[in-house]
Protein backbone atom coordinates (compact mmCIF):
# COMPACT_ATOMS: atom_id res chain seq x y z
CA UNK A 1 0.00 0.00 0.00
CA UNK A 2 1.46 3.28 -1.10
CA UNK A 3 1.21 6.19 1.31
CA UNK A 4 2.67 8.70 -1.13
CA UNK A 5 2.17 12.22 0.21
CA UNK A 6 2.49 13.92 -3.17
CA UNK A 7 -0.72 15.36 -4.60
CA UNK A 8 -0.74 12.78 -7.37
CA UNK A 9 -0.18 9.85 -5.04
CA UNK A 10 -2.77 11.03 -2.56
CA UNK A 11 -5.20 11.73 -5.40
CA UNK A 12 -4.92 8.07 -6.36
CA UNK A 13 -5.73 7.05 -2.79
CA UNK A 14 -8.78 9.34 -2.75
CA UNK A 15 -10.06 7.90 -6.03
CA UNK A 16 -9.49 4.37 -4.77
CA UNK A 17 -11.27 4.78 -1.43
CA UNK A 18 -13.82 7.54 -1.96
CA UNK A 19 -16.74 5.24 -2.70
CA UNK A 20 -16.30 3.15 0.45
CA UNK A 21 -15.80 6.17 2.74
CA UNK A 22 -18.72 8.10 1.27
CA UNK A 23 -21.04 5.07 1.35
CA UNK A 24 -20.09 4.40 4.98
CA UNK A 25 -20.77 8.03 5.90
CA UNK A 26 -24.10 8.01 4.01
CA UNK A 27 -25.16 5.06 6.12
CA UNK A 28 -24.07 6.89 9.28
CA UNK A 29 -25.84 10.12 8.30
CA UNK A 30 -29.00 8.18 7.40
CA UNK A 31 -28.68 8.90 3.69
CA UNK A 32 -27.82 12.62 3.87
CA UNK A 33 -25.51 12.61 0.84
CA UNK A 34 -24.47 16.27 1.14
CA UNK A 35 -23.47 15.96 4.79
CA UNK A 36 -21.77 12.63 4.10
CA UNK A 37 -19.71 14.20 1.30
CA UNK A 38 -18.69 17.14 3.51
CA UNK A 39 -17.55 14.70 6.18
CA UNK A 40 -15.79 12.58 3.55
CA UNK A 41 -13.85 15.64 2.37
CA UNK A 42 -12.83 16.42 5.94
CA UNK A 43 -11.86 12.77 6.36
CA UNK A 44 -9.48 12.93 3.41
CA UNK A 45 -8.02 16.28 4.52
CA UNK A 46 -7.32 14.84 7.95
CA UNK A 47 -5.90 11.68 6.41
CA UNK A 48 -3.57 13.82 4.29
CA UNK A 49 -2.38 15.72 7.39
CA UNK A 50 -1.87 12.53 9.38
CA UNK A 51 -0.53 10.31 6.62
CA UNK A 52 2.82 9.97 8.36
CA UNK A 53 1.01 8.53 11.41
CA UNK A 54 -0.45 5.64 9.40
CA UNK A 55 1.62 2.69 10.54
CA UNK A 56 0.19 0.04 8.25
CA UNK A 57 -1.17 -2.02 11.15
CA UNK A 58 -4.62 -2.41 9.62
CA UNK A 59 -5.71 -1.74 6.06
CA UNK A 60 -5.63 1.82 4.76
CA UNK A 61 -9.40 1.63 4.22
CA UNK A 62 -9.90 0.73 7.91
CA UNK A 63 -7.75 3.67 8.94
CA UNK A 64 -9.85 5.96 6.74
CA UNK A 65 -13.09 4.55 8.20
CA UNK A 66 -11.73 5.30 11.69
CA UNK A 67 -11.13 8.93 10.72
CA UNK A 68 -14.56 9.09 9.06
CA UNK A 69 -16.17 7.77 12.23
CA UNK A 70 -14.42 10.36 14.41
CA UNK A 71 -15.44 13.16 12.02
CA UNK A 72 -19.01 11.90 12.17
CA UNK A 73 -18.94 11.90 15.99
CA UNK A 74 -17.59 15.46 16.02
CA UNK A 75 -20.38 16.56 13.71
CA UNK A 76 -22.96 14.77 15.83
CA UNK A 77 -21.68 16.50 18.97
CA UNK A 78 -21.82 19.80 17.13
CA UNK A 79 -25.41 19.25 16.07
CA UNK A 80 -26.51 17.41 19.24
CA UNK A 81 -28.63 15.25 16.96
CA UNK A 82 -30.37 11.89 17.12
CA UNK A 83 -33.81 12.47 18.59
CA UNK A 84 -35.58 9.45 17.07
CA UNK A 85 -38.69 11.41 16.19
CA UNK A 86 -36.78 13.53 13.69
CA UNK A 87 -35.52 10.74 11.49
CA UNK A 88 -35.99 11.56 7.82
CA UNK A 89 -37.29 9.08 5.34
CA UNK A 90 -33.94 8.03 3.85
CA UNK A 91 -35.63 6.76 0.69
CA UNK A 92 -36.58 10.32 -0.16
CA UNK A 93 -33.03 11.59 0.41
CA UNK A 94 -31.31 9.14 -1.89
CA UNK A 95 -32.78 9.30 -5.41
CA UNK A 96 -31.11 6.10 -6.70
CA UNK A 97 -33.35 3.16 -7.53
CA UNK A 98 -33.14 0.41 -4.93
CA UNK A 99 -34.90 -2.83 -4.15
CA UNK A 100 -37.75 -2.82 -1.63
CA UNK A 101 -35.74 -4.99 0.71
CA UNK A 102 -32.85 -2.54 0.50
CA UNK A 103 -35.11 0.44 1.16
CA UNK A 104 -36.69 -1.33 4.11
CA UNK A 105 -33.25 -2.09 5.46
CA UNK A 106 -32.12 1.53 5.11
CA UNK A 107 -35.28 2.78 6.83
CA UNK A 108 -34.83 0.31 9.65
CA UNK A 109 -31.11 1.11 9.88
CA UNK A 110 -31.96 4.78 10.29
CA UNK A 111 -33.83 3.92 13.48
CA UNK A 112 -30.80 2.31 15.09
CA UNK A 113 -28.27 4.24 17.13
CA UNK A 114 -25.24 5.51 15.21
CA UNK A 115 -23.03 3.04 17.06
CA UNK A 116 -25.25 0.11 16.03
CA UNK A 117 -25.40 1.35 12.44
CA UNK A 118 -21.64 1.70 12.30
CA UNK A 119 -20.94 -1.68 13.90
CA UNK A 120 -23.38 -3.53 11.62
CA UNK A 121 -22.14 -1.74 8.50
CA UNK A 122 -18.49 -2.41 9.27
CA UNK A 123 -19.01 -6.06 10.23
CA UNK A 124 -21.42 -7.00 7.43
CA UNK A 125 -21.46 -4.68 4.43
CA UNK A 126 -17.79 -3.73 4.64
CA UNK A 127 -16.64 -7.18 5.73
CA UNK A 128 -14.50 -6.22 8.73
CA UNK A 129 -13.98 -8.55 11.66
CA UNK A 130 -15.33 -7.56 15.07
CA UNK A 131 -11.77 -6.81 16.16
CA UNK A 132 -11.17 -4.48 13.21
CA UNK A 133 -14.50 -2.76 13.86
CA UNK A 134 -13.48 -2.27 17.50
CA UNK A 135 -10.26 -0.57 16.35
CA UNK A 136 -12.06 1.58 13.80
CA UNK A 137 -14.72 2.70 16.30
CA UNK A 138 -12.16 2.90 19.11
CA UNK A 139 -14.32 0.91 21.52
CA UNK A 140 -13.82 -2.44 23.29
CA UNK A 141 -14.45 -5.66 21.36
CA UNK A 142 -17.28 -6.67 23.71
CA UNK A 143 -19.05 -3.39 23.05
CA UNK A 144 -18.88 -3.96 19.28
CA UNK A 145 -20.34 -7.43 19.72
CA UNK A 146 -23.20 -6.12 21.82
CA UNK A 147 -23.89 -3.31 19.30
CA UNK A 148 -24.02 -5.92 16.52
CA UNK A 149 -26.23 -8.25 18.50
CA UNK A 150 -28.63 -5.56 19.68
CA UNK A 151 -28.71 -3.91 16.23
CA UNK A 152 -29.53 -7.22 14.57
CA UNK A 153 -32.35 -7.91 17.02
CA UNK A 154 -33.86 -4.47 16.48
CA UNK A 155 -33.55 -4.74 12.70
CA UNK A 156 -35.16 -8.16 12.66
CA UNK A 157 -38.07 -6.92 14.75
CA UNK A 158 -38.53 -3.83 12.56
CA UNK A 159 -38.31 -5.74 9.28
CA UNK A 160 -40.80 -8.33 10.47
CA UNK A 161 -43.38 -5.81 11.64
Amino acid sequence: MSTDVTSEGFGRLVREHQSKVRAFLRRLTRGDAALADDLAQETFFEAHRKLAQYQGRGSFASWLCGIAWSRFLMERRRRREEPLGEIEDTASVDPRPASHARLDLERAMARLSAEERAALTLCYALGHSHGEAAEILDIPLGTVKSHVLRGREKLKAMLES
Binding site: G11, R22, F44, L120, A125, R152
Partner: protein
Amino acid sequence: MTEDDLDILLSKPLDEVADDGFSMRVATKLQRAAWWREHVMLYAPVAAVAAVVPFLPGEEITAVALRLTPLLAQSGAIAFAAGVLALTITFEQRFRETQSAL
Protein backbone atom coordinates in the same frame (compact mmCIF):
# COMPACT_ATOMS: atom_id res chain seq x y z
CA MET B 1 -37.57 -13.07 8.19
CA THR B 2 -35.01 -15.72 9.12
CA GLU B 3 -31.56 -15.06 10.56
CA ASP B 4 -30.08 -16.12 7.22
CA ASP B 5 -32.25 -13.66 5.29
CA LEU B 6 -31.09 -10.87 7.59
CA ASP B 7 -27.46 -11.94 7.21
CA ILE B 8 -27.77 -11.89 3.42
CA LEU B 9 -29.42 -8.50 3.43
CA LEU B 10 -26.88 -6.99 5.81
CA SER B 11 -23.93 -8.50 3.98
CA LYS B 12 -24.80 -6.91 0.65
CA PRO B 13 -22.02 -4.44 -0.19
CA LEU B 14 -22.90 -0.76 0.13
CA ASP B 15 -23.94 0.84 -3.14
CA GLU B 16 -21.03 2.13 -5.19
CA VAL B 17 -20.83 5.92 -5.00
CA ALA B 18 -19.85 7.50 -8.32
CA ASP B 19 -16.88 9.85 -8.04
CA ASP B 20 -18.59 12.75 -9.89
CA GLY B 21 -15.63 15.05 -9.38
CA PHE B 22 -15.29 14.36 -5.65
CA SER B 23 -11.63 13.29 -5.90
CA MET B 24 -10.85 16.34 -8.02
CA ARG B 25 -12.47 18.68 -5.47
CA VAL B 26 -10.45 17.13 -2.65
CA ALA B 27 -7.21 17.38 -4.66
CA THR B 28 -7.92 21.01 -5.62
CA LYS B 29 -8.63 22.03 -2.03
CA LEU B 30 -5.51 20.27 -0.81
CA GLN B 31 -3.39 22.04 -3.43
CA ARG B 32 -4.92 25.40 -2.52
CA ALA B 33 -4.27 24.81 1.17
CA ALA B 34 -0.66 23.82 0.41
CA TRP B 35 -0.19 26.96 -1.70
CA TRP B 36 -1.48 29.18 1.11
CA ARG B 37 0.69 27.44 3.69
CA GLU B 38 3.80 27.86 1.52
CA HIS B 39 3.16 31.53 0.84
CA VAL B 40 2.22 32.41 4.39
CA MET B 41 5.39 30.70 5.63
CA LEU B 42 7.45 32.61 3.10
CA TYR B 43 5.94 36.07 3.26
CA ALA B 44 4.61 36.36 6.81
CA PRO B 45 8.07 36.80 8.42
CA VAL B 46 9.08 39.27 5.69
CA ALA B 47 5.88 41.26 6.23
CA ALA B 48 6.36 41.21 10.00
CA VAL B 49 9.92 42.53 9.70
CA ALA B 50 8.83 45.17 7.16
CA ALA B 51 6.13 46.33 9.57
CA VAL B 52 8.55 46.69 12.47
CA VAL B 53 11.55 48.26 10.66
CA PRO B 54 10.12 51.86 10.42
CA PHE B 55 9.74 51.94 14.20
CA LEU B 56 13.29 50.84 14.98
CA PRO B 57 15.79 53.50 16.17
CA GLY B 58 17.99 53.30 13.06
CA GLU B 59 20.69 55.79 14.07
CA GLU B 60 21.22 54.23 17.48
CA ILE B 61 21.43 50.73 16.00
CA THR B 62 23.97 51.90 13.43
CA ALA B 63 26.07 53.58 16.13
CA VAL B 64 26.04 50.46 18.31
CA ALA B 65 26.86 48.24 15.32
CA LEU B 66 29.82 50.46 14.38
CA ARG B 67 31.10 50.35 17.93
CA LEU B 68 30.67 46.58 18.32
CA THR B 69 31.90 45.33 14.93
CA PRO B 70 35.65 45.90 15.58
CA LEU B 71 35.32 44.36 19.05
CA LEU B 72 33.56 41.28 17.68
CA ALA B 73 36.07 40.92 14.86
CA GLN B 74 38.92 40.78 17.39
CA SER B 75 37.18 38.42 19.81
CA GLY B 76 38.66 34.91 20.09
CA ALA B 77 35.43 33.48 21.55
CA ILE B 78 33.38 34.75 18.59
CA ALA B 79 35.90 33.34 16.12
CA PHE B 80 35.76 29.97 17.90
CA ALA B 81 31.92 29.97 17.90
CA ALA B 82 31.86 30.86 14.18
CA GLY B 83 34.24 27.99 13.46
CA VAL B 84 32.10 25.50 15.40
CA LEU B 85 29.00 26.74 13.57
CA ALA B 86 30.68 26.35 10.16
CA LEU B 87 31.83 22.82 11.03
CA THR B 88 28.36 21.86 12.27
CA ILE B 89 26.71 23.08 9.08
CA THR B 90 29.26 21.27 6.92
CA PHE B 91 28.83 18.04 8.91
CA GLU B 92 25.03 18.29 8.74
CA GLN B 93 25.15 18.77 4.94
CA ARG B 94 27.47 15.77 4.51
CA PHE B 95 25.21 13.70 6.75
CA ARG B 96 22.14 14.58 4.66
CA GLU B 97 23.96 13.73 1.44
CA THR B 98 24.97 10.34 2.87
CA GLN B 99 21.40 9.63 4.05
CA SER B 100 19.85 10.55 0.71
CA ALA B 101 22.44 8.39 -1.13
CA LEU B 102 21.31 5.42 1.00
